[in-house]
């Protein structure tokens, strides 16, 4: 193991995130973390594990269940010189504190005519697939991406997770950092081999706003984010066996949206499938398709297709939820249909 570690050290996504935060806290005294159960507990999804022991309760603050209060406090603290990281335990809870997020955190820099900066990072857990019901399983990134003033970061791998967290903390703008429960590599979640991967020990930054080709291909482009990148890669593997080579483009952030990368890939493959775990309508899938229509209309061999969560609340019962979630099979089927048709 030791040898493996020196060669390529393997980390889970949650460890990659907590390591990034710890290294930035070492580097910058003004970084502090707050949220519910982020201290002793280390964050319900492990994103802050070990931080309390290392940095103490002054910089790793467990909060009451007062999201408007502590996220608003993060905004105020940022205005007076700190760089707070605030965890919203599940993105599903945004409704109790959204005013602070989008009317304050996201707008103050612009409203102030550029005079003030609000370097806040909000981390939040997204995603379903484990029967947590309608209030604990959503992704909702499309909703946040619709509102100007916040960068929307969504890692899919341990490597990106660390590098994007470093960039988020160093960014002078508000950043929403969405981590999917299914990519964290938690012992109590359904095992996901891709949730563990090589992560350099030293701090490094992955630029916010650059999409990443997770797999090259020529026959079709799958554009997606987060856990669906893993599903898409599984589908691509299967399709490759059938002679269909799919390009998997991981957006990694929705704001800024790397429209060039999307357009370039589709110009090459001439076919687009957008996969989204978020609700289908008025969200990411429509924006990505429109981006291609605006940038590569004449290159399209066929109308782009979306494989997304249907426009229904998320049901509890396993067969119901699984029926709604995109998976490797439904993604592969969509690609086949597109390539055939």
């Amino acid at each position: 193991m030791a040898t493996v570690e020196t060669a390529t050290r393997l980390l889970t996504t949650s460890k990659a995130i907590s390591e990034a935060i710890a290294q930035e806290m070492e580097r910058d005294e003004t970084v502090l973390v707050m949220g519910e159960d982020i201290g002793v507990y280390g964050g319900i999804f492990g994103a802050t594990e070990g931080l309390l022991a290392t940095f103490g309760p002054e910089r790793v603050m467990d909060t009451p269940i007062s999201e408007t209060g502590f996220i608003g406090a993060a905004v105020g603290a940022a205005l007076s010189g700190l760089r707070p990281i605030a965890e919203l335990m599940f993105v599903d809870f945004f409704g109790v504190c959204m005013d602070q997020i989008y009317n304050h955190m996201a707008k103050i820099h612009y409203e102030s005519g550029g005079e003030l900066r609000v370097p806040v990072v909000i981390t939040t857990a997204v995603g379903g697939g484990y029967s947590d019901g309608a209030q604990h399983s959503q992704t909702l990134w499309g909703l946040f991406a619709h509102l100007p003033g916040m960068k929307i970061v969504i890692p899919s791998t341990p490597y990106d997770a660390k590098g994007l967290m470093v960039s988020a903390i160093r960014d002078d703008n508000p950043v929403l950092y969405f981590f999917h429960k299914g990519i964290m590599g938690l012992g109590w979640m359904t095992p996901n081999p891709r949730a563990t991967g090589p992560v350099p020990e030293e701090p490094y930054a992955v630029p916010i706003g650059k999409a990443d080709v997770k797999r090259e291909g020529r026959d079709a482009t799958i554009v997606t984010v987060s856990l669906m990148v893993h599903r898409a890669l599984d589908a691509a593997e299967t399709l490759s066996g059938e002679g269909i080579e799919v390009e998997v483009l991981d957006l990694r952030s929705l704001v800024p949206l790397d429209r060039e990368a999307i357009v370039e890939s589709v110009k090459k493959t001439r076919r687009l499938v957008v996969v989204d775990e978020d609700y289908r309508s008025f969200g990411m899938s429509g924006e990505v398709i429109t981006t291609v229509v605006e940038g590569a209309f004449d290159y399209l061999d066929a109308p782009p297709v979306r494989v997304a969560y249907p426009d229904v609340p998320i049901p509890y019962s396993r067969p119901l939820e699984q029926h709604c979630l995109p998976n490797a099979d439904t993604i592969a089927a969509a690609v086949r249909g597109l390539v055939a048709g």
Binding site: E36, D37, G39, V40, Y41, I44, D62, T63, P64, I65, S66, T68, G69, D92, F93, G95, V96, G129, Y130, S131, D132, G133, A134, Q135, H136, G187, W188, M189, T190, P191, P310, D311, V312, P313, P315, Y316, S317, R318, P319, L320, E321, Q322, H323, C324
Partner: protein, 327 residues
């Protein structure tokens, strides 16, 4: 002081709740051992059990009718059963079955029951305004029903707590706000979340009665709730009750609880509200050893039947997920 019949009913209620949750707990870990996978087994997802908090639910619910509204939290089973929810439908819902209360769409944190006007929410404190609305409807419709809102001490620092109680007080609505203070919000102790020792003192911010039930004793809860419910029913407006209760288990099943000492957990078991109450009934000669045994046996039988019903019921058709967004 409640009469003997009431005392014995409260005992039975607490026992059936405890045994129901123990059965759910066993089912929950099926398919999750040796390796724990929250998505696996007959009962997937988060599971918040109320073992230890039965006195708070039962002492209040004894005063309610099915037409009274109850709103509860992510930890709803004790309140649901105490208010009379059908145990089979509850079990089947937790197993995600077609025969479940919500036909599998709700799950353990989203239980909605027309029969007992019961609802709950997985969002902290957000069930409180709903209770205010029920009471508003009762007033408008000339019904003398009332609404009870259960919530945890952690919820008392959420804005909805403040808005809901102020509205109920302002409009003189029949709501009984019951704070179950189990001292913990997941891993955060009350001392790290709440600027005052007792939420009952916060009643002063709304000019309503605030009552502290300092011990996890179903009789004390029964007494306090009796007054609050009577006040609400006769149009006297809301009350805020805080019950010091105990969370015997983890926040959710699978919680390593590294934030609590073995000692704390031991002492909690010691003062288990059901054990203590049963001992008292025995000492007072109100409950014989055989009667006690029968209570546990009958409750176990009811629970087994409910679980069996849940297990043997079919899953809903996968496509049913796609319908029912709109009435």
């Amino acid at each position: 002081m409640p009469d003997t019949d009431t005392l014995l009913r409260m005992h039975r209620e607490m026992v059936r709740i405890r045994l129901f949750e123990e059965a759910i707990q066993r089912a929950y870990f099926e398919g999750k051992t040796p390796a724990f996978d929250i998505a696996a087994g007959p009962v997937p997802g988060e599971m918040h059990l109320a073992a230890g908090q039965e006195p708070a639910a039962v002492g209040v619910a004894m005063h309610l009718r099915p037409s009274d509204a109850v709103t509860a939290t992510h930890r709803p089973h004790h309140a649901a059963l105490a208010h009379g929810m059908d145990m089979k439908k509850l079990a089947a819902e937790i197993f995600g079955k077609e025969t479940g209360l919500c036909h599998g769409k709700g799950g353990h944190m989203h239980l909605f029951d027309k029969e007992t006007n019961f609802g709950c929410s997985g969002i902290i404190a957000e069930g409180m305004p709903t209770a205010v609305g029920h009471a508003l409807a009762f007033k408008r419709l000339g019904r003398d029903d009332i609404a009870v809102s259960f919530f945890g001490e952690g919820a008392a620092n959420q804005g909805a707590f403040h808005e809901a109680i102020n509205l109920a007080a302002l409009w003189g609505l029949g709501v009984v706000f019951v704070c179950e203070d189990n001292a913990w919000a997941i891993s955060v102790p009350k001392t790290a979340s709440t600027a005052v020792a007792n939420n009952s003192d916060r009643a002063a911010a709304y000019g309503i009665p605030g009552v502290l039930v300092a011990d996890n004793d179903v009789v004390a809860v029964y007494e306090a709730a009796g007054e609050a419910v009577a006040l609400a029913r006769r149009g006297g407006g809301p009350s805020l009750i805080e019950v010091k209760t105990d969370r015997l288990l983890g926040h959710f099943e699978g919680d390593p609880q590294l934030y609590r000492t073995k000692e704390e957990l031991e002492t909690l078991k010691e003062r288990d509200g059901i054990k203590r109450f049963e001992r008292r009934l025995r000492e007072q000669g109100l409950l014989s050893e055989q009667d006690a045994a029968r209570v546990w046996d009958e409750a176990q039988a009811e629970v087994d039947e409910a679980i069996e019903f849940a297990r043997s019921s079919p899953y809903p058709a996968p496509e049913s997920a796609l319908v029912g967004v709109f009435a």
